[in-house]
């Protein structure tokens, strides 16, 4: 209890983290409850196109007369879900590859790190575009594809953590007690190295959101789903006459990504007190 309250105190000791947490909370609430409370269909043409904000359309309408607020609220869901799921996927892949590599070393390590380096070399947004264009763009494919191109940084981190733990006393002791490699990796080492992994994967949520936005801006997103990037793409066609149409969803992306980055930095400070002096 006191340990967790101490952790929370450290986490929110900086006003920037607190700001990030508040922002994130608002966005999450809007994503969960927004579409339930504000039930307007984001795909339906409801009025004249390109209207300025009014009582009926709080953020105005887009080029096809669709309600921008409805799009923003539904887009929040897409951004957060894709961001979270892709980061989770990348983290899982990264943990498996990094753990095997760092724990066993040798040939396994060499092979896996070659593969990791390969993924770090290939421009991953281009690879992502190729993957998405080859398959049908559904939200599941997009999420998996983002995870598939994002895991190497996690794998690198996990590898170095596991490698440094693999030679430690307690790991030898566990071997002596007859624990299997799997048990040692999963039950003993992993909990010890979770802190930096949490930091990296929370920051990865932010970059996954940016990546998804880029994809849907290019028109490669799931055609059945409204997302912020897609809305910017739509707004782009009338940039000269109605710049706010592209501006509004962009501001949302900035706020969401900023909130996650702020919280991620706070987590980093709170979980790695050594680095805190900086």
């Amino acid at each position: 209890m006191s340990r967790s309250s101490d952790f929370l105190r450290r986490l929110f000791s900086s006003w920037t983290t607190a700001l990030g947490a508040v922002l994130l909370f608002i966005i999450v609430v809007a994503a969960i409850f927004g579409p339930i409370v504000y039930t307007v269909d984001p795909f339906e043409m409801l009025g004249r196109p390109a209207q300025l904000p009014s009582a009926r359309f709080p953020l105005g309408t887009d080029v096809s007369g669709r309600d921008i607020l409805a799009g923003i609220l539904n887009g929040a869901r897409v951004s957060l879900i894709v961001g979270l799921a892709a980061s989770l996927g990348a983290t899982l892949i990264g943990i498996v590859i990094g753990a095997l590599s760092g724990y066993f070393g040798g040939l396994i390590d060499d092979t896996l790190m070659r593969i990791t380096d390969f993924f770090l070399t290939v421009p991953n947004f281009v690879l992502l575009l190729v993957i998405v264009s080859v398959f049908t763009s559904t939200i599941e494919v997009i999420t998996l594809a983002i995870a598939f191109v994002s895991w190497p940084s996690v794998a690198r981190l996990v590898r170095s953590e596991f490698a440094s733990h693999a030679s430690r006393e307690y790991v030898h002791a566990c071997r002596g007690l007859g624990m299997s490699h799997m048990e040692i990796m999963g039950r003993q080492i992993l909990p010890n190295v979770m802190a930096p992994i949490i930091v990296v994967s929370s920051l990865m949520v932010a970059s996954a959101i940016l990546t998804e936005a880029g994809l849907s801006f290019l028109g490669l997103s799931d055609p059945d789903i409204v997302s912020w990037g897609y809305m910017i793409g739509v707004g782009r066609t009338v940039l000269r006459s109605a710049w706010w149409m592209a501006a509004i969803p962009g501001v949302m992306i900035v706020l969401a990504v900023l909130a996650i980055n702020l919280v991620g930095e706070g987590l980093n400070d709170a979980l790695n007190p050594r680095m805190r002096q900086r």
Binding site: V122, P123, V126, V134, L239, W243, V257, R278
Partner: protein, 329 residues
């Protein structure tokens, strides 16, 4: 027997050899993706040409060699890639390699300009921030950099266009040069430069934020080391300590990261080039996506990866210049 290759050349040679396995791996990955994908090139071509009868598609398939066993197709594809034959762009009717290479210079111009700008500005701002550690300036710069770091650059690009092209009418909003412009040589250079400003600055923004943050923390680390105290002890001024003694050492991680991020920047250039209509590789990616020109996409993947390796080789050389210890390792 007495003949020996200098270590420097050995190093270069090893690095250049590294390109081969990467190219093989990409070719294999490409092939895997193609075989997993629903439909094949014959379907795409006929669909692009407004549909065709089943017999026509089958004939096309045979002429493209798509009816051969998978393994045969695999080796023929690999053989092609290794002899620099990236196949034909079925949509544009020209060799993929020619098409891709024709777009490389524009992309290089954009990337080199924006990354150089980002490294330079990021480093200077990072030094400034670290020497004023904890001050108001330091905090404001940290917040601005985090904000830039959180901004999707394709959106920033649009907003820059709105402000500088539409609102102020200062800068062109797209393309690499004025279409049909009739200029002298210097006039053409100036014209390209003017067109380069917005895309390069937009792209640099994100990386300025990244490098500034890294340079700042790297500087703070270095400024605490013994040889900095020793430099102070012999009367070096604070300015000299920051900009010469510390910066030179703090630079290494920044330059290394810049090398690692070339791939990231190439990916980002797809969006930037699309927004600004910059006729480079990134724009070609977008066009090929729209045209479902899979062969070209795959070719871009191969060429851009090779580009990443070559650039990171150059970065390694720069690191060797910055840190005398590296060459001797």
């Amino acid at each position: 027997m007495a003949f020996s290759i200098p270590p420097f050349l050995q190093f270069m040679f090893r690095r250049v050899l590294q390109i081969i396995p990467v190219v093989i791996a990409i070719a294999a990955l490409n092939f895997l993706l193609l075989s997993l994908a629903p439909g094949d090139a014959a379907d795409v071509i006929s669909a692009n040409n407004g549909g065709a009868s089943a017999e026509e598609v089958q004939a096309l398939r045979e002429s493209l060699g798509l009816d051969r066993p998978m393994i045969v197709q695999f080796f023929s594809y690999m053989g092609g890639v290794l002899t620099l034959d990236l196949g034909q762009s079925y949509v544009r009717g020209m060799p993929v390699l020619d098409l891709v290479m024709s777009r490389v210079p524009a992309t290089l111009l954009l990337m080199v300009t924006s990354l150089a700008l980002a490294v330079l500005a990021g480093i200077l701002l990072g030094i400034l921030s670290s020497t004023r550690y904890g001050s108001l300036l330091d905090r404001v710069m940290s917040i601005i950099s985090l904000l830039l770091y959180s901004t999707p650059h394709f959106w920033l690009a649009l907003m820059m266009i709105v402000f500088f092209s539409v609102h102020l009418g200062l800068l062109p909003s797209g393309n690499i040069a004025t279409i049909g412009g009739d200029f002298s040589f210097l006039g053409r250079v100036w014209d390209v430069f003017v067109h380069l400003i917005l895309p390069a600055v937009t792209m640099a923004m994100f990386y300025i934020a990244v490098y500034m943050r890294l340079m700042r923390s790297s500087m703070l680390e270095v400024l605490d080391l013994d040889y900095i105290t020793a430099a102070r002890a012999r009367g070096a001024s604070e300015k000299k300590i920051a900009y010469s003694h510390a910066a030179r050492n703090a630079l290494l991680p920044v330059v290394t990261l810049a090398g690692v991020q070339i791939g990231h920047a190439l990916g980002g250039s797809v969006l930037i080039e699309t927004v600004f209509g910059w006729p480079g590789l990134g724009r070609l990616v977008y066009e090929s996506l729209l045209e479902r020109d899979t062969n070209t996409l795959m070719g871009i993947l191969v060429v851009s990866s090779v580009l990443v390796i070559v650039v990171s080789l150059c970065i390694d050389l720069v690191c060797g210049l910055l840190d005398p210890r590296i060459v001797h390792k």
